[in-house]
């Protein structure tokens, strides 16, 4: 019991600690590909620390939703963080939710952020919220199918179960449907984390922003929480990618050594994934909003193919 | 039994004459001549009834013949003439179907009736010429109602049909029971009276008895 709480606590700490780093690393890798020097990989930490020291400017039109939203969203994302396996596969809180629950927790977080975007009465907020929810709606079916594709393979949507099973299967888990599902999930991950070609996290032009427009009214401490929440979510999505499809190396029991190894392996995995994302970001341009359905249908079809090929391969 | 009566020459003659009178109505353009033809037709019917009465010896039929004579050959034509005089109706009858086509259609109807009755009598031992005449009268009566515009001619058409039925009843069963026969006469008479009243009303409100004008109630 105690050890489980300690593990959970440790996991939260790790997540909080690593998520700005992931952002920093991606930015750095991007800079590398763009042949720039780029900011330090610790720059996101500095940003958040700075924001936390600043006062907040709050619109006079807002209601309690605006104040509550960052906290609720952040809490929802952190709750998801207790379910998603990061370095250990049998999560103590895995009973509380599965992959679907994680998806819905993210949805909860998004829901409140989007609500807050409408609270100030600014057009930009509304536009951002609308687009964010629009993309989320497109992501959802593809996501669900890819969850099914994954779950079919394992026979469960419980994340601990998935990582344990896949990791126990070893390399034999790699199969056409596994890879198809991975690519599908990767596209979803890009959309979920607001990366190019879906959204450009670095833009500061109001009309093209999506996530950034949504949180336009936030400043100071509240912005810090919102930003940190987004980073945590990004880390969690990457962990999902890593630990669902390539969970090898993850600790399956509590032990100092195995956890240490697992942490290192995890770090390598997310850096690799970050690099992939960075490559995609540098090599493509942001797509027009109404071309995005095409992108997500690709993901949908990939998941569906994965499903079908699973049924064909495994017989049915 | 019927074959004996209706096979007789005199009977054939009467029935043929009845048909002729019907064609007179069909072929006439004058109201008076139509009424006159109808009177003759009724008179011939009374004759038929009498002949059948003589051959079967049923007293009922004499009464019926007498009533026919009084009501159909006298009273009803009188009512017609009274109406025609009172409302000063134009003497010509307006037609939808011209005289010659009417006559041709009448002929066709007679043939159809004959064929119909025959095709039935092949199976049953049903008679005969009289019945097919009665059938023709009914259909020609209806045809007159359809093809003549004047309200008064429709009234006449009904009476021709009625006569046809009378002939049919006599030819089939030597007449209906007396009580029923009386009831029918009563109804016919009242019917004619009420139609007369209606014709007067029509004339009063529409200032014509051309039923072509009665086309306001549609849909």
């Amino acid at each position: 019991m105690i050890s489980q709480i300690i593990i959970s606590f440790f996991q939260i700490i790790i997540i909080l600690a690593l998520s700005p780093l992931l952002s920093g690393i991606i930015k750095k890798i991007k800079a590398f590909f763009q042949i720039r020097k780029g900011a330090s990989i610790f720059q996101p930490y500095y940003d958040i620390a700075k924001l936390l020291r600043k006062d907040s400017v709050v619109s006079e039109n807002v209601s309690w939703i605006f104040h509550a939203a960052p906290v609720i969203s952040f809490a929802a994302v952190l709750t998801a963080g207790l379910i998603v396996p990061v370095f250990i596969s049998n999560m103590p809180f895995s009973f509380a939710g599965d992959l679907i629950a994680v998806v819905y927790l993210f949805a909860l977080a998004r829901f409140f952020t989007a609500l807050a975007s409408l609270d100030a009465g600014s057009s930009f907020g509304g536009m951002g919220g609308s687009r964010e929810m629009f993309i989320a709606s497109m992501v959802e079916p593809a996501l669900m199918l890819s969850i099914f594709a994954v779950a079919l393979n394992v026979g469960s949507t419980n994340l601990s179960q998935i990582s344990q099973t896949v990791s126990a299967m070893g390399l034999s888990a790699v199969s056409p449907y596994h890879l198809l599902a991975f690519v599908a999930f990767l596209i979803i991950a890009i959309a979920e984390t607001g990366r190019i070609p879906v959204d450009n996290p670095a833009t500061h032009l109001e009309l093209t922003m999506i996530h950034e427009a949504m949180i336009l009214e936030y400043s100071g401490k509240q912005l810090a929480i919102v930003e940190l929440g987004a980073m945590v979510k990004q880390l969690l999505v990457f962990s999902l990618l890593a630990n669902i499809f390539f969970p090898w190396g993850i600790a399956d029991s509590v032990g100092f050594g195995s956890i240490a190894i697992a942490l290192i392996v995890f770090l390598i995995k997310i850096i690799v994934l970050g690099a992939i994302i960075a490559i995609i970001e540098t090599s493509t341009a942001k797509w027009r909003l109404f071309r995005l359905p095409d992108l997500l249908s690709v993901s949908l079809m990939l998941s569906f193919l994965s499903l079908v090929s699973f049924i064909i391969v495994k017989g049915g | 039994m019927e074959e004996v009566i209706f096979g007789s020459n005199i009977m054939q003659l009467f029935i043929a004459l009845i048909l002729v009178s019907t064609f007179m109505i069909l072929g006439s353009t004058r109201l008076y001549s139509c009424v006159r033809a109808f009177g003759i037709q009724s008179f011939l019917l009374a004759c038929v009834a009498t002949v059948v009465g003589i051959s079967t010896g049923k007293i009922d039929l004499y009464i019926v013949a007498l009533l026919t004579l009084i009501i159909k050959a006298a009273v009803i034509p009188y009512i017609f003439i009274y109406i025609i005089r009172e409302i000063k109706v134009k003497r010509e009858i307006d037609l939808y179907v011209g005289i010659s086509p009417s006559l041709i259609i009448g002929g066709i109807l007679v043939v159809i009736s004959y064929y119909l009755i025959r095709s039935i009598s092949v199976i049953t031992e049903l008679s005969s010429f009289a019945l097919s005449a009665s059938m023709s009268l009914v259909s020609i009566g209806l045809f007159i109602m359809i093809s003549r515009k004047k309200a008064i001619m429709q009234m006449l058409g009904i009476l021709i049909m009625e006569n046809g039925l009378f002939l049919g009843a006599i030819s089939l069963t030597n007449g209906m029971p007396l009580l029923v026969e009386l009831g029918i006469f009563f109804d016919v008479l009242i019917g004619v009276l009420i139609m007369g009243i209606l014709i007067f009303r029509i004339n009063k409100t529409f200032e014509t008895i051309d039923t072509d004008m009665l086309k306001n109630l549609i849909g």
Binding site: - | I120, M161, I190, M195, L198, I202, L214
Partner: protein, 484 residues
Amino acid sequence: MIEYLLLAPLLTSILCFFSRTKKQVETISVSGSIITLLLGLTLVVDVYKHEVIVTWQNALFADAFSAYIVLIVSIVGFVASLYSVGYMGHEHKHGIIDDKKLRLYYSLFHIFMFTMLLVGVTNNLGLWIAIEMTTLVSALLMILYSRKSSIEAAWKYMIICTVGITFALFGTILTYFAAVNILGETGDALNWTSLIAVADQFDPTIMKLAFIFILIGYGTKAGLAPMHTWLPDAHSEAPTPVSALLSGVLLNCAMYGIIRFYTIATKSTGEAFTSNLLIIFGLLSLGIAVPFILLQEDYKRLLAYSSVEHMGIIALGIGFGGVFGIFGAILHMFNHAMTKSLMFFGAGNILLKHETKEIFNISGVVKTMPVTGTMFVVGTLAITGSPPFSIFISEFTILAAGFSNGHIGAAVLFLLFIIMIFAGFFNNVSRMVFGNPKPGIEKGDMSRWTLVAMGILMVFIIVLGVYIPTPFYDMIMRVVEIVR
């Protein structure tokens, strides 16, 4: 017994004709119709006890079916006489009719009752005479107003129905002929009971011919398509209480004739022939009613077309046959009589208030006349066959009969038609009843008399929708036994 029943309306009529004041004539009329109703009920009880009553040298005759018709006639006659007090009173008050016409109206009304009662209790051929008499009397009632349209309607009614009736007479003569061939030339050859007994020996071809003529003849009078053309004119132009009698009762009387002959003909020709004809005519009537109900602009005509529809349903029920089908049809006669009368009474009140028959010129009746409006809407639901009202039960039974006797196509068409009719009917009625009233229409319901009349009918409609009392059920079952 039967004589008294027939005498009552005749006497009432004479008294009405010679009475002086409005009050007098109304009192006489209402008490006369109460007496008629009581005598009618006594007859029903008597028949219930003795099976068959015959008097007057077999000319008058009453079995369960006759008693059933008498019951319908006397109930609707009674409520119509109540309604007349309110309706004609209103007309009288507004100077539309004078004292003389009022007296004429009431005396004709009771003669009309007499003729319809006669239809029920007469023996075979007398039926033809009685039905012809109903035509004559009701045509006179129709021209009471001497409006252009009423005269036109009366003429069409008179001519077309007389033609029809002539056909029916031909059919009757043929039946008589078939009977005489078996029974010999006796007066008995025209009695229902003796006919039924030997009907299976009749020549089938002659009976086929006879049935066709009967079907066209009484079918004209009953408003079966395509001989129904006079019906919307006549029913919409008659004074409203008379419309109710025409639609509710008179059509049933003609149907009664068809059903009587159906029984005889079926025994000789076999069921397929008669049933198929009835089904065809029934469906045709239903189908013809649909477009007219969908696109109707005059609400009294709307009700008239609905009567065509319901006669079609009764024909269909008989055509489907079996205990269920006939039971449904017989029950439907009663239900339709009650509901249609209610509808006409409601329409009459609306007509008195708005002085127009155009559906488009009327709205918000529930607001101006809450009681009438509510009953009119409920009546609409009832007449279109919605549960929990009585017509639903009979329609459902008929439908079930169609299914169980293998006429599935016809049953499905039937259902389709009544759904379309429902849509059309309801659309028209809801335009009239709901919404804001037209300007210039003051609030206030019509006289109590009319509402009481409607209320009585309402009781029948609702009670029979959820509960069929055992005596009534037994009575219908006996009718079914007679018809089968």
